[in-house]
Every structure is written in C-alpha cells, then in structure tokens.
Assembly symmetry: none
Homo-oligomer: 275 residues x 2
DNA sequence: GGAGCGCTGTACCGTATGTTACGTATTTTG
DNA sequence: CAAAATACGTAACATACGGTACAGCGCTCC
C-alpha cells in the first residue's frame, strides 16, 4: 500500500533514469518543499533541465505539474492537521528490515544517556576544556575512527590535541610526552584489545587522566580510568554498534566548544574571524 | 516581535477593510495551504475577487504574490525540519543540558530513516555485496572517520576494500585502479570539499558507481552519484552532527554482512572458524 | 565495432497567472 | 443630506510558467 508521494518515489526510484533520479533525490532530501516551487526552481536545485522534472512527475503518474503540486499540498494539509501522526507514527512507515536496527539504536541512545549524569559530563567537559595540559585520543580496531572524529573537532578549537595512530610501537613512544596534566581519551569496546589495556595502564602510572569510552560490560581499562562512559552497543546485527558512543562524543565536542567560547578563549575568537 | 506570517495577520486584521478581512480569515482557517495555491483559488475560497487578495498581501508588506508565497514556504520549511516532536515529546527524563543534543539526534535519526526506503538500501547493499569489483571509501575533513569505520568492517567480510587516506595526490593516483565494476563510497557534508568533488567527477567519468553519504542539502557530488543517502545534521551545537550518517553506515554494514552470509560466501565461513 | 534505442537538454509555443486600470458601489464626513 | 473618499469588482494586459517538438548524445546490445 502506497500512501504518500515520498513512498511512491522511493518505490520507483530504482526504475528511473539518472536525471530523473537526481530530481527524485533532491525532492526527497528536502521534502516536499522543492516540489511546491516552480519547475524552473526545482530543475535548478536538482541540476537538471525542466523537461526532466516534468518527465519525472509524469512517471509518478501525474497528468501535469500542477496536479503533482496539488497532491503534495493535500499531503501537507493532512500532515499539518494531525501533527502527532507525523512524529508518533510508530508502526514504522518503513516496515522493512532496516527498522529493527534503527529502533535498537534509538533505544541504545536513550539508555546510554539515561545512565549518564550531567555532572559526569560536566566534569569531563571541564577536563577537556582545561588547557593546561595536552589531549591524546586513541581507539581500538573499530573505534579508532571515533577517536579520529573527536580529535578532528577538538584539534580545531584548542591546541595540543593529538590522535595516536599507526603501530603500537609508535604510540608507546608518545608516552614520554604524557604527564599529570594531560588527558588520554580511549575508545575500547569488545573484544577489548590487550595492547590498549597495556597502554592505558602505563599512562595511568604516569599520572595521565584517562577518559574511557567503552561498552556496557566495561573494558578492563575502566580500572585505570578517571571517567568512564558506558554506551549500549547491542543491535540486531553481526556487529556491535558504536552509535551511542559516537553521539556521546558529539555531545562532548559541542559542550567543550561552548565551554571554550564561554571562557572567551582567544583561539575561538580568532577562528571566528577567519571564517 | 512578530515571527510568523500568521501572527502578522492577526496583528493587522483589525485595520483591514471587510473584503481583505475575509481573505485573512480564510487563510488563517486553513493555514497556510490556501496561500500556496493560485490567487484565483484563494479568492474563490474567500469569496472575494482576485485584486482583493493582492491588496491583502500588499497590506502585509509583500511586494507581490510570489514573494508572499515564498515566505509561507520558508516558514513551512522551518516548521518541517524541526519536527513538532521537540515540543510534543515527553519532557525528557534527564532534564539537563545534554538532552537537547540527544533529542535533536533522535529526531535526526528518525527523519533520516523516514526518507530512506528499504528498496534504496537494498540496492546499495546488493552493490556492496557484489564482489565482482572493488570497494573504495573516502570522506571529508570530519567525515573521513566514518569512511574508516565502514572500511574497517567491510574489509573483514570481503576482499578488495580500500580506504583512501592521506594526501589528495595519493588517492588521485588510485583512480587508475578504478573501473565500471567498482564502487566508491564518499562521505561529504557541508562545507563540501572541492577536492572530493573533483575526485568524484573523475571517478564517475571512469564509470565507477558512487554511493554518497551527504547532508540534507546534498553535496554537489550528488550529480555523479548512483545512490544518495541524505542524513539530517542539524543539532544545537556549533558543529553539524554526523550521527545519522553513522547509523546508516552501521545499518549498511550489518545488512551487507547478512547478505554475504546468505550468499554462503566461503570467506564468512572461514572467518567463523577462526573465531 | 556498428546500429539502434533511450535519455537528456535546447528552443519554442500557448496559456494560465499575477497584475493593473478604471468604473461602480458603499461608506464616511461636513 | 450632499459630496468626497474609500473600497471593491470587472475586464484587459503582460509576463512567466508549464508544456512540447526536436536534435544530440551516450549507452546497450548485436
């Protein structure tokens, strides 16, 4: 059963030629607004010619462009009159195989944040925003990209942020640079990596404060960590999900940025003037 | 402070002559749909003549009717992109400072998947699981970690998966290895990187099928992409969020794994025996 | 490698749309 | 009550919008 035009599109997008598919994608991307504008604007936004737009709506089964627009408007009207249906519609409009994954991830996010106190986050933010020391980030086989992601952001808003990459021997040598005032952010989920544990232990002995991102079963590194963030990872997949940790990381990035702005950090002002 | 057109109307409706007041009331009654239709339809619905409608919108301060319609559309866009859920949702169990970020991310995830059909995902999965060609992954400044994350998983379950890292000149040279049967997965969100666009264009010319992860405003690479995944990125932070794209990536990883298992790929069986 | 097909864009056309001028009706004011 | 000002609709107009014919191009399939 196809009720909305969006569904109709995604149903037929596979059978469309390249140009019309671009039209379909731009419409879906900012649905349904582009469709309410003129053919010329639509075509410009999609980067195709106007006839392609018209052929596109024709393929969807509409006699002409105005009829297509009317349909979009009717849909909008229905949506606006019952705003609840829009966000609540739990019988996922997308009854297929993907939604279990989405549902599980949404649950994981909520659960992860439920066990996360504001105080805990505030402490970590304060530590990360305190620029008397250096910040090192590292991750395991699958989580190292998370460390990179966080490092990419933090390195912009403050100096002395380093992502530890490459061979184990390489980052072991960086231990020399680490001391009491420094922070080490580690991402480690099952199966926990022995090399990371060793690294964390040594760093801990040197007085480095460790912020650990791990799963709900806690990596052994938790023993040495000053702050532990335990994210839910279970999803209906062969792999564990790092999405919850990813979102916590983004939250921290945002909070640290805000904190530094509040501190009136010169660097932030300079950055803004560069944009 | 008057923000919406509806407020503007109710503010001035007192000073309007009879005919225009009828127009105003008709518009408010089924706001804003009538305003998106033609002047003729609007006037008919209000029971007045077309010039009255035009005088009405002129009194609101608009130069002409199209300008008025654009304003209505912009308002709708803003309304649709920040779903009402934010106001309707149960006042988050965790009333603290982090929850806006979490709420926005949850919304982004739902919205992103709402615009994503099973068919579309299935097509991409089929392409990624089709092992007659190679798979290349690359990302932008902030999204390259996502490419790495995906590559780390895909490289385990199948051969010929390559993450393109380092200098632009390095991956440009890899173009030589790419052909019609190959897939290029690109992550690119605002601000879109010129170097990536050039790279995508050249790859496209070589017949490489491109799977693009981008934001809702679509990277210019969408022009060359066979498949486009548009994720929502807006969060209350100085940075855009890649969480939605991350979850889509995880979903794809899981689906590809399942697909290969279903295909009875020898590699998967070998992997299992190794564990 | 060649022939056929299908897709796409350019250029042009008819028309529906927004706009304006003007005459009539209605209300307001001295 | 008269006269003027304001409001409204009819009708004519110009623009820009949607629609179409056609030619070029790339792709696929012999």
């Amino acid at each position: 059963m196809i009720s909305s035009i969006a569904e109709l599109i995604s149903d037929r997008i596979g059978t469309m030629p390249a140009g019309e598919r671009r039209a379909a994608q731009t419409l879906i991307a900012s649905y349904p607004l582009i469709g309410l504008k003129t053919v010329a604007e639509f075509s410009a936004a999609a980067g195709v010619s106007s006839p392609t737009i018209l052929r596109f709506v024709a393929r969807l089964g509409f006699q002409n462009y105005p009829e297509f627009q009317s349909a979009l408007q009717d849909e909008l009207a229905a949506q606006l009159q019952s705003p609840a249906s829009r966000t609540l519609n739990p019988p996922s409009p997308n009854g297929g195989a993907v939604s279990p994954m989405l549902e599980a991830t949404l649950d994981n996010l909520r659960e992860t944040f439920r066990h996360l106190s504001d105080k805990q986050l505030a402490d970590i933010v304060a530590k990360l925003a305190d620029r008397r020391g250096k910040t090192f980030l590292i991750g395991g086989r699958f989580t190292d990209p998370l460390a990179r992601y966080m490092a990419a952001h933090l390195a912009i808003i403050q100096p002395n942020v380093f992502h530890l990459a490459g061979q184990e021997s390489v980052w072991r040598d960086r231990l020399i640079d680490m001391g009491k005032r420094d922070v080490l952010v580690i991402f480690d989920i099952r199966r926990y990596q022995e090399s990371l544990v060793r690294f964390a232990e040594t760093a801990h002995q040197r007085g480095v404060q460790i912020v650990l991102f791990t799963d709900q079963w806690l990596s052994p590194i938790a023993r040495f960590a000053r702050h532990v963030i335990a994210g839910r990872t279970a999803v209906p997949s062969a792999w564990d999900s790092s999405a919850a940790l990813f979102v916590v990381a983004e939250t921290l990035i945002g909070a640290v940025t805000r904190q530094l702005e509040a501190d009136g950090a010169k660097r932030i002002r300079e950055l803004e003037s560069l944009r």
